[in-house]
Symmetry: C2
Subunit: 522 residues, 2 copies
């Protein structure tokens, strides 16, 4: 990934927008969840990453486990949790004559408490690996960890106590944090047990990512990304329906554009909202699509009116990346995300997304009775024409992308989403692509989301369900409590970051089965 | 060292004594001390432990040092400090897109910031090694470390930031803690520059060990040990003269005896005063000698009267270890400290210390007009007779110890301290011993203290000064800011704990040059 450090980015703060975002910030909700059992992690070739968890004893036995130098214990909370862990540390033996030195390791997945982080050699910061060292000078001690962690498994290593005493652990629990109000959760869909299970894990994934903002993942990046927000918001309307949180996020992005009016791909929230110096054209367009969906869900005309100019600026940003033929131009830097796939040429996907966005924008222009409708319509006509003329390969009957005329799954999906072809032809295109099985395939739940959306757009519910069953259902079979950031069924250790230890296993962009199941009655 | 875990020890809490100890607890005093320079540690065969410190830049340059993954910096505070460090962490570059992961390593000596603690293989707990890991989620950050550290050198390692940002450090300082009031420090002695330097380092050592109690060492064990207290109190009367702190410590020991009235060798202070389950007869006797000195310094008859029964109980404890001939009997467990020397047979030393203590106790009995004087005098006569009859080797003209009739420096010193021989013969004994140079020699400043005291007792100031110059002066030459727990001039890496990394380099029992220089006008 070609990270850009744009030190010269000028940020335009819209204080009124930021004040509105702040006004919609609500106190987080809490639950106390106790650790459920004492477990061990054992090697198992059949299990994902080669590790599975086995119960050793019920948590009621924990107080009897005495830990001295070099001892460790792994606890299973029984579900994925996000929050602030606490525990009581009780010395046993002589009075503690040396500090207690502990290491905490948090795992969303068994592998994280099975393989030492010292083996990590990925290119994302080691600081994301959830481990913590604590010296405890005075015992007994009620210890509440000061950072937020995202995990199901907690490993506690006693690096050292002393020959004269050991330590027992009691009351290991977590105070969870979330802005998802379970009391507001809409009733579960009347569907198969399997789809209900998919729905439950989706809802859990979303809830654990709903914090002060819609985070992409509570383990990593703990940040407000527009791509994630777009999908989270869709799922949110069908589940917790926390409209204020969507509104807050839209105002945050709108309040922190650059001098050209572009919204950042993501925002940092603390110590104050700060836009990352990364500008991705697809993520910028998702501002407009998220605003569109927000209005559809809420009919909040005031917000639509206020944020409409910001949405238009994102279309202008995309417009600037078009060539004289109104074709999106592949850029030599990290200009669009689309998917984690270094081989992917993103031209056709962005072209399709622009068309998709323009159609939504035009519908909003009509609602607003906006003068902008005419240039939007004009632009839509031109980019649609360009897509058909330059990106359609009539011999292969597939869309191509970039100077090498690459055939990628993504390009077909986005042209379907764009409605460039009539529905029946579009359905044929998807089927043809599935048969063709392009070498450039989908690697993330984010990309798979749009595949499901595309099947539904062309009216093929069965195909959509097959993707849910085959892809998300596979994660479920592998033991997912929450849906993962990355999942390649043919490469279970896939990570775009060089190590699956750093992957996020509760990731917002993977939460959309609940959206599909509920909205389309699957 | 044969640590005893006596789980069946019954503690008798004297609440009135403990309440008095609590009443004399005073808020600690603080100073803000900034880091003084940026340094590096370089290998040097001539330097102690093979490492010396070299200035790299003044501290004013620190803000320009940008630290990213794998970078580190070492700061020199210019003096030994004890307290709570703080610093400001300022990100430089793009907005921090990953937590900052830092490691802090604190060194009283260069070796502690030069050699990785992972090499440590001593038998004391690793938890004493002063290192700390911190994840910083939000930057910039004013960070105050929550534990107390004892150090001169601070190494800060950036384990990771991210490729998009680095970090600068600002305002690195420490809020020191001590119960030594510098405003109360008695005027420095009128003596040579060299003895003034010895005095300064002694006073600094004492001050950094004066906390909520007289600690043995602020790095390790951070605890109230009776052997250290005895020497600290002596030095304290000549310097800060914090009488309340001595009184507090005496009442703490007296308030927490066992069922036989024995005081513990040391106390833990937090979360509440707790006696360690270690009972050493010499340390118990130091309760009586410390009470004796306290009365001499303060004429506080009320305290003497109250604690007198406790002092007597320590003599009874020693009495129980005598055989039918009134000779101290070597025990098969850790029964007396005397010195860190596994080969040392402690019988003669304890016999000498008992005589020494009995003489002080009889003088106190006279002040109190106590009925106990008669049995004390009777006992004194018997143990003195036994010492002369069974421990004096007339052919070698040296005292011997234990069944193997070991000749140790300690035995001669303690018999001199006991006044078993007339002063002139005692002086000859010390000179003879120096010439004989026993294989069983002194290994700690604690033991060397009594050598100096013995020379002074027999009136040989020059010999006493030679020990100060040759032993403590040698530490000074090696760069000591504060005097060390362990120092063997012929084995600079000596540690009774298996690694010099864990030694304490600011240790109470080493602070007595100031006592000798001031009290005896050396």
């Amino acid at each position: 990934m070609n990270m850009q450090v744009n030190e010269n980015v000028v940020i335009v703060k819209n204080k009124a927008f930021l004040a509105k975002a702040e006004a919609f910030r609500k106190p987080l909700l809490h639950r106390d969840i106790a650790a459920k059992s004492i477990v061990e992690v054992v090697a198992d070739e059949q299990a994902i990453h080669g590790w599975k968890v086995r119960d050793v004893a019920p948590i009621s036995e924990l107080g009897r486990v005495l830990l001295g130098q070099g001892d460790s214990v792994i606890l299973d909370f029984g579900e994925h949790v996000v929050g602030f862990p606490s525990l009581a540390l009780v010395p046993v033996g002589s009075p503690p004559d040396a500090p207690l030195y502990l290491k905490f390791t948090f795992g969303e997945m068994p592998v994280e408490v099975a393989e030492p982080f010292t083996n990590y050699d990925g290119w994302l910061s080691k600081s994301w690996l959830q481990e913590e060292y604590y010296h405890i000078d005075i015992l007994p001690r009620d210890l509440t960890l000061t950072r937020r962690y995202s995990f199901r498994y907690l490993k506690i290593d006693v690096i050292d106590s002393s020959p004269k005493y050991k330590v027992a652990l009691q009351h290991v629990k977590i105070k969870t944090v979330s802005s998802a109000d379970r009391a507001m959760l809409k009733v579960a869909p009347d569907t198969s047990d399997f789809f209900q299970a998919l729905d439950r894990v989706s809802v859990k994934t979303l809830a654990d990512c709903m914090q002060d903002v819609f985070e992409d993942g509570p383990k990593r990046d703990r940040r407000l990304w527009l791509g994630d927000l777009y999908l989270q918001a869709q799922t949110n309307y069908e589940t917790f329906d926390n409209r204020d949180l969507v509104k807050r996020c839209l105002y945050l992005f709108a309040g922190l554009t650059d001098a050209d009016g572009r919204v950042a791909a993501n925002l940092f929230i603390e110590p104050e909202p700060i836009p990352d110096d990364t500008y991705l054209v697809d993520y910028a367009l998702y501002f407009a699509t998220t605003l569109h969906d927000y209005y559809e869900a809420t009919r909040d005309l005031e917000t639509l009116t206020e944020l409409w100019p910001v949405a238009l600026n994102q279309i202008r940003f995309a417009q600037q990346l078009l060539d004289a033929n109104y074709l999106a131009v592949e850029q030599p830097y990290w200009w669009a995300f689309v998917d984690w796939n270094e081989a992917l040429t993103k031209q056709a996907s962005v072209q399709g997304l622009l068309i998709f966005t323009l159609k939504q924008a035009i519908s909003l222009a009509e609602i607003l009775d906006s003068d902008e409708k005419s240039w939007l319509s004009d632009l839509l006509e031109k980019v649609t024409f360009a897509a058909k003329k330059y990106l359609w390969d009539p011999s292969q009957k597939l869309f191509v992308s970039g100077p090498e005329k690459q055939i990628a799954w993504h390009s077909q999906i986005w042209m379907v989403m764009a409605g460039v072809l009539p529905d029946e032809e579009a359905r044929d295109l998807l089927r043809r692509t599935a048969e063709y099985s392009p070498e450039i395939g989908l690697t993330t739940p984010f990309a798979y989301h749009f595949l499901v959306a595309a099947w539904l757009k062309v009216g093929d519910k069965e195909a959509a369900k097959q993707v849910l069953v085959g892809y998300w259902g596979d994660m479920l079979h592998q033991g997912a409590d929450t849906f993962w950031e990355l999942f390649k069924p043919d490469d279970l250790s896939f990570s775009p970051y060089g190590s699956h230890l750093i992957n996020s296993y509760c990731h917002a962009w993977s939460c959309t089965p609940a959206y599909f199941i509920r909205k389309y009655h699957l």
